[in-house]
């Protein structure tokens, strides 16, 4: 008897109605379990999302997962500080104990609960901001922190890679109804490249709001067994079927790396272009590629770029959430900045000042960091070592305390 005949023989014995009942029961049962899993915090001792708990390795944390992390970490009476932004704020090149957000927590003390939901290359509007918004009623005393570069206009509803969190929360009814933001998102979907895949994403998020498959199977992937091969699966370091909780936090202590690795001479020219690039587009270029100056020898601001920023930040969050948002303008390492001409350094400085001013005028709070740091504080052009992390933690702690008073979370001293 061949295997095919055995299978056919077994299939012939199935009782169709019982089997169909089983299908419905199995599916419905997991939907219910998914609803339950959505409330569980599986990330015990959470410090940050690593490469093994992020889309880089095909793991997509849900908004419920983030909310559950907050609920398990926060103590009654604490002010919630949620950190978003990109790899700089995620703490690349910092061990979990050296992370800037850990320093921030230490500096702020027991009155605050700092949770870091930053992802590599993510924007202000990505996952962390969605989690914070979803928790607005539960923890109204909250501050949201993310980073940006000057003149970097964020996209409403999140970046192409991380926007699943927005739609996840949207279809689960966790977001504030905000017509300007909805129009801005719809406009962006029509206008820009991230139209691709949006239909699938929205249908999947809508289905998930009924079936909770992402919460349930993320829970399984994190706690029990992984089922998806990812390009980061490195034999010897990770094993395909191991649950994600067993995977290491791969970020090293960047301060231990020699300068030749952190600031490779071979990329110096390219990195200088990048550093200049932060301010290049903010100013009016003339046909020779240089930048126009006015009669008093000041750089002429290039209005289209800044208009894009001011228009862009207008509707990314509901008005009520803007004031509790702190934008950190991430500066470049002085290792490179010092190699610019004086004029270029000046241009960089006023670009950052302008960025901070416009975010503030848009109703947010903003500060710049990095200009007074040393090359040792940076791991590379933008990421921080543990030394820089400590400085940033101290700087932001002072700002967060001030904001807490301004927002009325704490009484005036």
């Amino acid at each position: 008897m061949t295997a095919a005949e055995i299978f056919r023989g077994i299939r012939a014995t199935f009782m169709p109605k019982t089997l169909l009942f089983g299908v419905a029961a199995g599916f419905a049962g997991l939907c219910l379990l998914g609803r339950h899993a959505a409330r569980l915090d599986v990330h015990r001792n959470y410090s940050r999302f690593t490469q093994y708990t992020s889309p880089e390795s095909k793991y997509y944390p849900t908004v419920n997962e983030m909310m559950a992390i907050v609920r398990s970490k926060i103590k009654p009476g604490q002010i919630l500080v949620i950190v978003g932004g990109n790899s700089i704020l995620r703490g690349v090149a910092q061990l979990p104990d050296q992370m800037w957000s850990k320093r921030l927590q230490e500096k702020l003390g027991d009155g605050y609960c700092v949770v870091n939901f930053a992802f590599d290359s993510s924007l202000i509007t990505d996952g962390a901001s969605v989690a914070a918004e979803a928790l607005r009623d539960e923890y109204p005393r909250q501050i949201y922190i993310a980073n940006a570069f000057p003149a970097q206009a964020p996209t409403p509803g999140g970046s192409n890679v991380y926007r699943w969190v927005y739609w996840d929360a949207y279809y689960k009814g966790l977001l504030m109804a905000d017509e300007p933001r909805a129009s801005a998102i719809a406009g962006n979907i029509v206008k820009y490249y991230f139209k691709d895949g949006i239909q699938e994403l929205r249908i999947s998020s809508w289905l998930d709001s009924w079936c909770y498959f992402n919460d349930f199977w993320n829970d399984v992937a994190y706690q029990d067994f992984n089922t998806v091969w990812g390009t980061l699966m490195t034999p010897g370091v990770t094993r395909f079927l191991d649950p994600r909780k067993r995977y290491p936090d791969p970020d090293p202590d960047g301060s231990l790396f020699p300068y030749d690795v952190r600031y490779p001479p071979s990329t110096l020219a390219l990195e200088l272009v990048n550093v200049k690039g932060v301010s290049m587009f903010a100013f009016n270029p003339d046909p020779t590629g240089d930048f126009k100056k006015d009669p008093a020898a000041y750089w002429q601001v290039y209005p289209p770029v800044w208009t894009l920023l001011t228009d862009g930040i207008k509707d990314i969050f509901p008005a009520a959430l803007k004031k509790r948002t702190l934008i950190l303008m991430s500066g470049s390492s002085p290792y490179y900045l010092r190699r610019l001409t004086e004029e270029e350094q000046y241009r960089d400085k006023i670009t950052f000042e302008m960025g901070v001013r416009l975010w503030k005028e848009g109703g947010y709070d903003a500060i710049e960091y990095g200009r007074d740091f040393t090359p040792d504080d940076f791991y590379d052009r933008t990421h921080l070592t543990r030394f820089g992390a400590a400085k940033l933690g101290d700087l932001v702690a002072t700002k967060v305390r001030a904001m807490s008073v301004e927002l009325g979370y704490l009484p005036k001293p």
Partner: protein, 48 residues
Amino acid sequence: MNSLATILQSRAARQVISLLVGVAVGVFFHYLLYRLTLPVQPFIYVAF
């Protein structure tokens, strides 16, 4: 093989097996929805 055939002749056993297979299929469809949210690979023969 014969014992399996004998078991499969019992109505109760068939009920249980059908139910278990059904539950397994239902669980798998739930998992399938999760997998479809991750980046998926196109079918090779669609290109032909």
